[in-house]
C-alpha cells in the first residue's frame, strides 16, 4: 500500500490534485477544508465542463435549430440522463432540474401539496430536519388547514421508530424526512420508513442533500416517491439541483411555475402544458450548471460511491475517536449509523469563538445552528461546531483539527 493510498483503496492524494482549491494556505496555515456539509469543493472536470459550454456551446436549449443550440441541448439533456442513472430512476422524465434541495421541497409542497393536502390531513416531518424541510410544510399546513407532526428522536440523534409508527395513520398524507441529518450526520433508515408510510397510503419525500455525496442512492430500491438533492454538496456547481419524482405522481401534479418551456401551446384562452419533465421547468434553465452537475456525477461514479462510503466511514471513526478523547469536548449526535459529520461542543466556549480560532489555524468548519434550530434546542445549545468530511479529506487534516481545538483550550483555558 503506497503512502497516499487509504486502507480501502482510494488514492486520496491523487484525487486531491483534481481540487486545486484544497491546495492553499489560509492565515499562513495549510487549509483543512472540513465544511463539506455546507458546500463541497469542485474538481477540475466539473469546472472544465462548465467552461467548455461557455467556450463552445453557449446558447439556449430546446429552442434553436442552429448548431450551438443543438450541442447545448444535447449536453444539457445528457446531464439529466446521468442524474437519472446515478439515482437509478426509471426514466429521464422523472428528473426535474431545480436550484437545489430547497427548491425541490418547495416544488413538491406547492404543487403536490396544494393539490392533495386538505384540512384534517397530517404532514409528518422529523425532529432532525433542516429548515428547508420544515418551513415549506408549515406554509402548506397554514394554507390548507392540515396539521404538521414531528417524529421525535433520542439523545443519540436517532429517530424513534416506534413513535414514527404510532404517528402514521390514515390521516398522514405525506412524510418528509432527510436521508442524512446535516446537523448530526445521522443516517435515517429511510427504506424502512418509506415502506411503513406506504402501508398507510402516505407519499414520501426524502431530502437527500447530505446523503448524495456520501453513499449510493437507489430511488427504486428505496421506493421513494420524491428525492431531492443539491449539486454543490456533490462537488457540482451552486444554484443547481435535481428532484426525482415518480412519473405517475408528477403527471398528476399541476405545474409549479408558469412560463416558457413548460408549455405545449398557449392561447389567451387556454394553455396546454408540456410533457414531463419540462412541465416543471419554466423559463431558460441553468444550462451550464446542469452540465456541470452531470460532470460531477460522472466524477464520483468513476471513484465509486461504495469506495467513497467505505473511506469516509474510516475517516469519521478516526475523527470521532480523536475528538471525543479531548478533555472538555462533548460530541453532539452519536447515532450508530452516521455519515461524515462530527458536531461537537467545546464546553464553556461558544462555537463562534471556536470557529474563529479554528479558521486562524487553517481549519474551515461551520459554527452555528446549521439551519436546524429545533435540533439545537433539543440538545439545549444555541449552536455547535461542525466538522464535515469528503473523500478528499485526510487523517492529517483531522489531526490539524485536533491541534486547533487545543488552541481553543489554550486561549480559553
Amino acid at each position: 500500500m503506497s503512502a497516499s493510498m487509504s486502507a480501502v483503496g482510494l488514492d486520496v492524494q491523487a484525487l486531491r490534485r483534481d481540487f486545486p482549491s484544497l491546495d492553499q494556505q489560509v492565515h499562513d496555515k495549510p487549509l483543512a477544508y472540513l465544511d463539506n456539509a455546507a458546500s463541497a469543493q469542485t474538481p477540475l472536470p466539473v469546472i472544465d465542463a462548465i467552461r467548455d459550454h461557455y467556450l463552445r456551446d453557449r446558447s439556449n436549449v430546446h429552442r434553436g435549430v442552429h448548431e450551438l443550440s443543438q450541442r447545448a441541448t444535447n449536453a444539457y439533456e445528457k446531464a439529466r440522463v446521468k442524474v437519472q442513472r446515478f439515482l437509478n430512476a426509471p426514466s429521464y422524465e422523472e428528473i426535474i432540474w431545480t436550484r437545489g434541495t430547497t427548491e425541490g421541497v418547495n416544488l413538491v409542497a406547492s404543487s403536490w401539496g396544494r393539490a392533495n393536502v386538505r384540512a384534517g390531513d397530517e404532514v409528518l416531518i422529523s425532529a432532525l430536519e433542516h429548515h428547508s424541510n420544515i418551513v415549506p410544510w408549515q406554509m402548506l399546513c397554514q394554507q390548507s388547514g392540515a396539521t404538521l407532526r414531528v417524529i421525535p428522536m433520542n439523545q443519540a440523534g436517532e429517530l424513534l421508530q416506534d413513535e414514527y409508527e404510532r404517528l402514521l395513520t390514515e390521516r398522514t398524507k405525506l412524510v418528509a424526512v432527510n436521508h442524512v441529518s446535516n446537523a448530526l450526520g445521522t443516517i435515517n433508515p429511510v427504506r424502512e420508513m418509506i415502506a411503513k408510510a406506504h402501508a398507510v397510503g402516505a407519499v414520501v419525500l426524502i431530502d437527500g442533500a447530505q446523503a448524495i455525496p456520501h453513499m449510493a442512492v437507489d430511488v427504486r430500491a428505496l421506493d421513494a416517491d420524491f428525492y431531492a438533492f443539491s449539486g454543490h454538496k456533490i462537488f457540482g456547481p451552486t444554484g443547481i439541483g435535481a428532484l426525482y419524482g415518480k412519473k405517475a405522481l408528477l403527471e398528476a401534479m399541476p405545474p409549479y411555475q408558469g412560463g416558457g418551456d413548460m408549455i405545449a401551446s398557449v392561447t389567451f384562452e387556454k394553455t396546454i402544458y408540456n410533457d414531463l419533465p419540462y412541465k416543471f421547468e419554466a423559463g431558460t434553465p441553468n444550462i451550464a450548471d446542469a452540465i456541470g452537475l452531470g460532470a460531477a456525477v460522472d466524477y464520483v461514479q468513476k471513484i465509486g460511491m461504495d469506495a467513497i462510503a467505505a473511506y469516509e466511514a474510516e475517516l469519521l471513526s478516526y475523527a470521532t475517536e480523536k475528538v471525543a478523547a479531548i478533555d472538555g469536548v462533548r460530541l453532539i449526535g452519536t447515532a450508530r449509523h452516521k455519515a461524515s459529520v462530527l458536531s461537537f461542543e467545546v464546553v464553556g466556549v461558544h462555537p463562534h469563538d471556536v470557529g474563529t480560532i479554528l479558521d486562524r489555524e487553517g481549519v474551515a468548519v461551520r459554527a452555528g445552528h446549521h439551519c436546524a434550530q429545533p435540533v439545537m434546542e433539543f440538545y439545549g445549545v444555541a449552536a455547535t461546531t461542525r466538522a464535515s468530511f469528503a473523500f478528499y479529506n485526510t487523517r492529517e487534516e483531522i489531526d490539524q483539527l485536533v491541534g486547533a481545538i487545543g488552541k481553543v483550550k489554550e486561549l480559553f483555558g
Partner: protein, 154 residues
C-alpha cells in the same frame, strides 16, 4: 496565535467568562432585545434612566459568544452614570473603531473615551465577528430610542 490574542485579549476572555452586570433589572425603565439570527446570539439590555437623562444603572442577560458577551459586559459598566447623549457618542466611537479600516482612523482620536473597551480594536481584523462586538451597542441604541423591535447586526 498572536493575531488571535489581538482578538481574544485577556480582558475580553475574562469578561466573557465572568460577565459583569449580568442580571435582570425588575425596575428598569428602558429595555431592549438584541438578536443575531445567524449566530443565535441573544441579549436583553436593561437601563434605568433618571429624569435628567442620565443612565443610573445598566445590566443585561442572554447568551452569546465571548465577543458579544464581553462587549455587553464592558459596555454596561461604561455607560453607567453617563448621559444619553454621551452614550450615543460612545456608540459612534465604538462603531467606528471596530468597523472602519484602521488606516482610515486618526490614531490620536480612534477609540478616545472608550477606555478599556478600546481592546475591541482587534475585532476589526475579523470581519465575521464585527456583528458580535456591536450587538450590545445596537441594542443600546434601540433602548435609548425606546424602539420596540429587536436590534439586529446581521
Amino acid at each position: 496565535m498572536s493575531d488571535l490574542r489581538d482578538l481574544y485579549q485577556d480582558l475580553i476572555v475574562d469578561h466573557s467568562k465572568n460577565p459583569r452586570n449580568f442580571r435582570e433589572m425588575p425596575d428598569a425603565n428602558r429595555c431592549a432585545d438584541g438578536f443575531n439570527p445567524l449566530c443565535g446570539d441573544k441579549l436583553r439590555l436593561y437601563l434605568k434612566i433618571d429624569d435628567e437623562g442620565v443612565i443610573r444603572d445598566a445590566s443585561f442577560k442572554g447568551s452569546g459568544c465571548a465577543i458579544s458577551t464581553a462587549s455587553a459586559s464592558m459596555m454596561t459598566g461604561m455607560i453607567k452614570n453617563q448621559s444619553i447623549e454621551r452614550a450615543r457618542d460612545l456608540f459612534d466611537t465604538f462603531h467606528q473603531l471596530v468597523t472602519r479600516p484602521h488606516e482610515e482612523l486618526d490614531p490620536n482620536e480612534a477609540g478616545i473615551g472608550l477606555g478599556k473597551m478600546a481592546v475591541f480594536a482587534g475585532v476589526n481584523e475579523f470581519p465575521a465577528r464585527v456583528k458580535c462586538a456591536t450587538l450590545a451597542w445596537h441594542t443600546l441604541k434601540n433602548a435609548l430610542e425606546d424602539k420596540q423591535e429587536a436590534a439586529h447586526t446581521e
